[in-house]
């Protein structure tokens, strides 16, 4: 509505002008917010990512071997021992792992004479075989094993990422392990996958976990 001003001049309704200003500010704020959200929603995939990556900006987790912390439970023939890893999450949000998928129970670890896994122990290799496997692995590749406690790796750049984890007694050595495997460091066979989703509260590093079946 247009009002006739005191001096006869016509001017726009005050509410309309104020409303216009607020609407403009609101619109600008929403546009900025949307842009901000959008720019952070799309996450590029790692250059070495495989076809396993999800669409829409999710990057894969990486799991690497480390010698520290030293395993408490060592492997002996007929017994089980600890496995130590670090888990890296390149995403801008935490990721929670609830299960691991294992290779078969005839996929053996490679032995090394040093904790850096750089000098092979030729008579204690996966082909010897070393007789070291993932505990509870089966004849079927990809068998899934639930963690006792879900592990949450923090968002990229946050404390707890990478996350150091000791999987207690999750490696197994048969009674027939060769003598060359005495006092040897093992690179465990690659996991075939993990069950993980975005979200969760970060687990403190280092952590201890396991699967028991």
């Amino acid at each position: 509505m247009i009002h006739k001003a005191k001096h006869g001049r016509l001017r726009p309704n005050r509410w309309s002008r104020r409303t216009s200003i607020v609407a403009a500010v609101l619109g600008a704020a929403l546009a900025g917010t949307a842009a901000y959200a959008t720019s952070n929603w799309v996450v590029g995939l790692g250059s070495s990512s495989s076809g396993e990556a999800e669409s829409g900006g999710v990057s894969n987790l990486t799991i690497t071997a480390v010698a520290s912390p030293s395993p408490t439970n060592l492997l002996y023939p007929g017994g089980d021992g600890d496995v130590v890893v670090t888990i890296s999450n390149p995403n801008p949000y935490p990721v929670t792992i609830t299960a691991v998928q294992l290779p078969t129970d005839t996929t053996y670890a490679d032995g090394y004479s040093d904790p850096g896994l750089s000098t092979t122990e030729t008579s204690c290799s996966s082909s010897t075989p070393s007789d070291v496997i993932w505990n509870f692995s089966t004849a079927t590749s990809g068998s899934s094993h639930t963690l006792s406690t879900p592990l949450t790796v923090a968002a990229s750049g946050q404390a707890g990422n990478p996350l150091a984890v000791t999987f207690s007694n999750d490696a197994s050595m048969t009674t027939d392990a060769p003598a060359a495997c005495e006092d040897t460091y093992f690179s465990m066979p690659s996991l075939t996958g993990v069950t993980a989703v975005a979200g969760g509260t970060a687990t403190a590093s280092p952590a201890t976990d396991s699967w028991s079946s």
Partner: protein, 153 residues
Amino acid sequence: MGSKDGRHFAVMCAATGVALGLSAGPAWGSGWPVSLQPPSAAEAHAGAAPGAPGAPAAACTSATSATVKVTWSEVADASTYSVYEATSAATGPYSLAASGVVATSWTSGALSTGDYWFEVAALEGSNWQGANSTATGESTVTNLGLVQICAQT
């Protein structure tokens, strides 16, 4: 600004706040599945071979028998023991007399006339064998046909 204008302004501000709140809300992609980048790696460590048992002891089972009993102390983490005997000297050479012994003692069968020394080694599994112990004292067996005499040094 009149009360009507103020109410409108407040409504717009509230709407802005709600909109901004929604944009900065729960973790992005919450619930989205995340995969593993292959290959993964993990590290385990094996222990060492068992140590040698402490010096074993040999004893004739009786003065008129041709059998000797050897005893030794338990070795941590050992699953079985092997017993070796020498017939020339305490320094050997030694040959395997018994394997897969689970207890911490072993009794020989009837021995022929001669001098005997024994050593013991601990094993973990089938193939991880520790060093031999030191030798027992000398056991001397004399077989006189119907009579056997055993003496321990």
